[in-house]
Symmetry: C2
Subunit: 124 residues, 2 copies
């Protein structure tokens, strides 16, 4: 389900956090579904359970999952995930477009670039 990249210089717990987040956002792990246990995922990825725990705590602090002692960790509700996806994506988009403006791209420059890219990605 997850493949770690040891060439990547970012911390492992951050990679795990990000990859789980993407799996959740893509719907691969549906809402209220149980995530692998801290210990099981640690074995699967051949890393320490503490590292998985840290990733889970990060995801919980961001609202993507909730953890219950004795039961496990679970993906947040569909409404929560939908809201998080939208706000997170908007935030990234805003940052990128603001950067573009700061670098001198005009409103039309940006729109053109974006339309080209959307066409590429969606093949239409």
């Amino acid at each position: 389900m997850i493949i770690l990249d040891y060439k990547d210089k970012r911390p492992i717990f951050e990679q795990v956090t990000e990859k789980l987040k993407k799996l959740i956002c893509k719907g691969v792990i549906p809402s209220d579904e149980k995530l692998p246990s801290v210990r099981n995922l640690a074995v699967e990825l051949s890393i320490n359970p503490n590292t998985i725990s840290r990733a889970y705590q990060q995801l919980e602090s961001e609202g993507y999952i909730y953890s219950v002692i004795g039961k496990g960790s679970f993906v947040a509700s569909a409404e929560d995930i939908k809201r998080l996806k939208s706000t997170d994506y908007k935030k990234e988009l805003l940052s990128l477009i603001a950067d573009g403006k700061a670098q001198g791209f005009s409103s039309d420059d940006i729109k053109t670039l974006i339309n080209e890219t959307v066409k590429e990605v969606y093949n239409d």
Copy 2:
């Protein structure tokens, strides 16, 4: 010209690299302009010359500047900067839009989100 953020957990050389890159992309430091010397910028930022040197080498490896022993470091040509800005920006845009698609946003979803954001940023 540059202010370091010691709350930021990223390495200092990375902050310096990024901030210089933005200054170059914004045209604050024009093409073929001489950058501050490794030692001068180190004094100005109260950090080690080695750290500045590492940032300059990073920028050179990406093509944003060129360094000459005995002379100094200089911003790349206008054509090079223009090309780098465009390709780098396209790369980020492509990554973000591909992510959006992977997360289930439709072509129209994306376009709507983007148009809203462009309006916000450019106030039109």
